[in-house]
Structure formats: C-alpha cells, structure tokens
C-alpha cells in the first residue's frame, strides 16, 4: 500500500490568518534591519563632514523617504508588540506552584519601552 504524500503549496501562509500574521511578523525584520542600515549610513555621512551630513538629512525629508519611514514604523511597532506579547511563552516564571500571570511579564516590556523612548526623546528634543 502506497501512502499518499500531500504537497505543501508555496502559498501555505495565505491559507489561514495566523500564518499570514506570522509571515508579516517575519517580514518586520527587513524593516528593522533597514532602520539599522540607515543609521549606519547616517554615522558614515556624519564622519564625512557637515555638508555630507546635511545633504543626507535633506534626503530624508523627501516624500519617498517619509513614506518609507511611516511604513517602517508601522512594521517596527508590529514587531515590538508581537514579541512583547510572546514573552510569557518563552519565560515560565513561577512563584511557588503558580505561574506568574502573562500580563506581569508583558507590562514591564511596555514600561521599559516608554522609559527608553522618553530618554531618547529627551536627548534629541531636550
């Protein structure tokens, strides 16, 4: 008797919403990576002198650059939030017999995010 092996279609991730959300989460890495590259380029321009740095900053004000940043920000936020919410899965913190409530592990992530964002904002804007 020959068992039948069903093929796995390349579009498997379009078949169910949870798979699509997973693929979007994986895609966020591209945008997070792009942020890092832009930051490295910025440092390089800064190193090349004031004129190079200012022309780079001006290029960031183009509509295309702004559009990219809006999309990238959305993906970065999605990346951050999804991973925050997965923290309790990877960390089984127990007090006695009881497992610590998931919110107790998720909320500190948000608090740390807010605190670090505030410090960064204070550096840049302050």
């Amino acid at each position: 008797m020959k068992p039948y092996i069903r093929p796995m279609p390349a579009t498997w991730w379009l078949k169910r919403t949870p798979y699509l959300i997973f693929m979007l989460r994986e895609l966020t890495a591209v945008f997070v990576g792009a942020y890092a590259v832009i930051f490295l380029v910025m440092i390089r321009r800064l190193n090349e002198g004031q004129a190079a740095y200012e022309s780079f900053m001006a290029s960031l004000r183009s509509p295309l650059a702004i559009l990219f940043h809006v999309v990238a920000l959305m993906f970065a936020v999605f990346h951050t939030v999804t991973w925050f919410h997965l923290t309790p899965k990877a960390m089984a913190v127990r007090i006695g017999e009881e497992r610590v409530k998931p919110a107790m592990l998720i909320v500190p992530n948000y608090l740390a995010w807010a605190a670090i964002s505030a410090i960064v904002a204070w550096f840049i804007l302050g």
Binding site: R6, M8, R16, P18, Y19
Partner: protein
C-alpha cells in the same frame, strides 16, 4: 427553527484516498442530518453506518481523551469528536486527514513518523544509576515541583500540533511540537536525570532550532499543553547551556 432542525441536513466534503482504486485522492460529498448535539465524528459514523461503509477513519473514546480522531476540519486541525456541526451550519464542512502526514486511506494517516520522533526523546523518567528498589520507597515530589511540568504532561498524542505546524510540513525531520513538549515535561520533572541524553536529540539540527515560533501548535492543542512555550523555554535553557560551556571560565555543564 427549533422544530425544523430534525429534518434539515448538512453537507460534508470528505477526503477520499483509495490506493487500490485510484492513485490520486478525491473529495466525496455526503449529505447528513443536521443535529445540534452532533459533532463531525457523529456525522462520519452516520455516513459509515447508513450510506458508505467504505469510508475509513480512526476514532475511539469520542470524548476528547484518546487523541485518535484528529482531522482537518475546514483546514483547521481539530478533534472531530469536539467539532460541533452547529458551529458550521449551514455551510459545507470539508474534512481531510491531518496535514503533513502520509495518508494511508481516506482519513487514516501513517503514525510512524510521529511515534519515531516521540520515542527519540525518551519520554520516560531516566535515572542515571537506575531506579532505586521499591523497598526504598518512592521518589517524593512537592506540589510546586509537580506544577513545573504538569501542563506539558497533559498531551494525548493527538498530533493536531504537527498538522498545525508549517515547519513540520516543510522539514519532515523536525522533531515537532508534542515530542519536544514531552521532552521538556520529563526534563522539568524533579525525579528525572535524563536531560543530557535528551538534549542530543532536542537541541540537534532537527530539534528546537527548527522552530520559528509560529505558535499555532499551542493554539490548536485541545489540552492546552502549549508546545510553543515548551520549545521557546527549551531554547532559552539550551542557550544558557552554551554560555556555560563556551564562555564561562569554569564551564562545563552542571549535570
């Protein structure tokens, strides 16, 4: 509506694979009575009894304990004894064998790939020096020690998590959710000393590192085992092992 339910019917589109008749599978549509208290398994048994005795499927307890009746129901892995017709009525229900397993006949698939993986993690208590004789009494465990692994011990080997995992579909050698959850169940057991032995399989190329944390294994688990959590926790522990072994000056594994 209440009095019409007895006469109303529902359609089931069932995956048929009959290797003695055709090399390719097909879908066959059956009409079954719609009863509010019927589950998909009841409908399949009705078909087998009343209209088509050739339809093959596995089942046993019909109360969500034995783990034999897992099927893809409208593309989602479910125990067919726990999937009520009323949740799909009046739409057609598509019934297929659990994904990623080789199909033997109709809804019956090959269990060997899963059973081999399960055996490879040695899901039993291992004592380095062998078990102590009964006369010395039992290995005691506190409720807190028991609580550490209790959730992972609820697995009924229904294989829904394998059908939900796209990594299993793409990498047939991947150890998979249930086997790793059960490895973790024994690793966390205070009476067990077998983690080092299990690590050779669990932390291997085909083990935890194949997992991309899609998380659907936990979402479909009828017993709330949370294999995705087990795998991520095993990853954290394996990473700590690596740090201890490679970076810590007085390294080496502690056990």
């Amino acid at each position: 509506m209440a009095n019409s339910t007895a006469e109303s019917t529902m359609r089931l589109e069932v995956f048929r694979y009959e290797p003695d008749k055709a090399a390719e599978p097909r879908f066959q549509t059956y009409e079954v009575p719609f009863r509010k208290d019927w589950v998909v398994l009841d409908a399949l048994n009705h078909i087998k009894d009343q209209s088509d005795g050739s339809l093959s499927f596995r089942w046993s307890c019909r109360m969500g304990v034995c783990g034999s009746c897992g099927m893809m129901i409208n593309g989602v892995p479910k125990l067919s004894c726990a999937a009520f017709l009323r949740d799909y009525y009046p739409n057609t229900i598509r019934v297929e064998p659990l994904s990623h397993f080789p199909v033997l006949r109709d809804l019956v698939f090959q269990l060997d790939p899963f059973l081999d993986k399960l055996k490879s993690v040695q899901p039993w208590i291992i004592r380095r020096e062998g078990e102590k004789p009964v006369s010395e009494g039992e290995y005691l465990q506190t409720p807190a020690q028991h609580a550490r692994f209790k959730d992972f011990s609820m697995c009924i080997n229904c294989m829904l998590c394998y059908a939900a995992c796209p990594v299993v579909g793409m990498e047939p050698h991947f150890l998979g959710p249930a086997a790793i959850a059960l490895a973790q169940r024994y690793n966390l057991d205070s009476r067990d000393e077998g983690r080092d032995q299990r690590q050779e399989t669990v932390a291997s190329h085909d083990g935890i590192w194949q997992c991309t944390f899609i998380g659907e294994c936990s979402a479909v688990c009828p017993k709330h085992v949370d294999p995705a959590g087990a795998i991520q926790q095993a990853k954290v522990e394996s990473t700590i092992d690596w740090f201890k072994e490679v970076l810590w000056p007085f390294g080496g594994r502690k056990s």
